[in-house]
Symmetry: C2
Subunit: 144 residues, 2 copies
């Protein structure tokens, strides 16, 4: 049996649902919301409860295998399997979710310095850029 189902670094037990959600997430190249992911699963015929999608994303987030960020427009959480394993930031299209990653070591160092100077601990830095990607700028290619 060559049926080795695509196995990602999924936390806990391996279930049909987890595999399906991971596959769906992996098939997208940009950031997506839990709801969008759920829709895609429905389209494929993969029956997974929305709550399960949320739980899966949460656990993978804690495991560090997916990135997430908040859409500043509506506060909705978006998720993605990122290429880079080390700390990085995102340039995200607020229309279609497409994203590119970039690193700015100096910024992280600088932010940490500011925090230390003020005596803050457990600091977390948010640094992402939102905009409209080239494709979404030309109405013809618009994918929303």
């Amino acid at each position: 049996m060559p049926q080795d189902p695509p196995f990602p670094p999924v936390e806990g037990r391996s279930t049909r649902q987890k595999r399906a959600v991971w596959a769906a997430l992996a098939s997208v190249d940009g950031f997506v919301s839990a709801k969008t992911l759920h829709h895609r699963l429905e389209e494929r015929g993969d029956d997974v409860a929305l709550a399960t999608v949320y739980r899966f994303l949460q656990s993978q987030l804690e495991a560090g295998t997916v990135d997430s960020l908040l859409n500043p427009d509506d506060g909705e959480a978006l998720y993605r399997i990122c290429a880079a394993q080390t700390h990085h930031h995102h340039l995200v299209c607020r229309e279609c979710g497409i994203a590119t990653e970039f690193k700015v070591p100096e910024i992280d160092r600088l932010a940490r310095t500011v925090a230390v100077n003020e005596g803050f601990s457990e600091t977390v830095l948010t640094f992402d850029v939102f905009g409209i990607c080239p494709a979404c700028q030309s109405p013809s290619n618009h994918v929303d």
Copy 2:
């Protein structure tokens, strides 16, 4: 009548509710959520609907008289009347909301460069640092 109620740079008509919300916001020195602000108003006996608080904050935000940011922990929006009028960033305590401001001119330039290189337009940059302030680190002073 010396009763000249404290008049802030409030947009539009002057109403009891707007004055109350502004006063409540001004009396806090850190970032607060709309809900927290609403609670404080209740405590003072100022009767203002939560929806009105949201709308007020929204309009002041557009007018540029208040700053806002998303708490990365729960996605809740936080508001504050900031000292600096020019573009700046924040070091915020995720416990009590206390914040200090800092400026990093290079970062905006850098972000814009990244965006332009990828052909993105209408870019918006989020750059803030969250952590635990010195006061909230010592359990005795904890104010949450």
